[in-house]
Amino acid sequence: MEVIYNLFFYLISFVLIISALGVVFMPRIVYSAVSLILAFISVAGIFVMLNADFLAITQIIVYAVGITIILIFAIMLTGKISEKKLWIAFAPRTLFAFAISGAFFVTILFAITDGFKLVARESNIFSATLPSLETIETLQTEGTTGIIGKALFTKYVLPFEVLSLLLIAAMLGAIVMTKKSGDNLINHTTKTIEED
């Protein structure tokens, strides 16, 4: 049982890392969009392994369907220029980027493994323990949706409302920015109403 869990983790994370590298290094932008879909679905698989079923479904609905469709529409609307020369910036900042991300990775690795000596199941520095079997059983039969919904409407109700305000502001901003400067949305609608 444990071995199957571990093998699934390594399989999903291998696919995830390969497809994330494909997003960055694929020569054509459409291929990297397809690779991004694979990466999002792999992240949903990681969420399933972490007992987060609501989060996995939300990940698939919002990221792997919604955001990817918006990105593919943007690729189709802006795709006149040949993409080969837009691959990677052969500039000094490329070397700088490799250096900075490598240094960042080594720093994070040093921090979370307590100086490269602790890759244990029960990590001491975060006081992490394996969740007990009864808790996992409860989560897997009842799901996490109830807990998340209850918390969203009691403890986190103010951030939830602020988030809805942010979504409305983003929607209005997207509409206002993408409409052409000539057409007037308000007059157009009022005119059609009068005609009816």
Partner: protein, 112 residues
Amino acid sequence: MFMEIFSVIFNVGLTHYLILGAIMFCIGLLGLIISRNVIRVLMSIEILLCSVNINFAAFANYVDINNIQGQIFAVFIIAVAAAEAALGLAILLSLYRNKPTIDTEEISELKG
């Protein structure tokens, strides 16, 4: 001795998920800097947000299993990421209408 070390490294725990999140974050950071295509920069930002979500879900599973607050914050992050993607692509389209390029090195009106 060897089998013990191997089982400690092989068995998946919190640290493995954190290392996976670190790898994803560094890939996203790399793509954010070295890409010349604006759409690929936006894709790299999505990868960064996904790596943060992996870390939140891992901590919610291993530290705070009873009231999973990490997953709630991951839901918030997903909503903010959707708003960010929509706004970023709207800015990109209106910029493309004024100046038809998606090269990050040609968009230099702000002298950045």
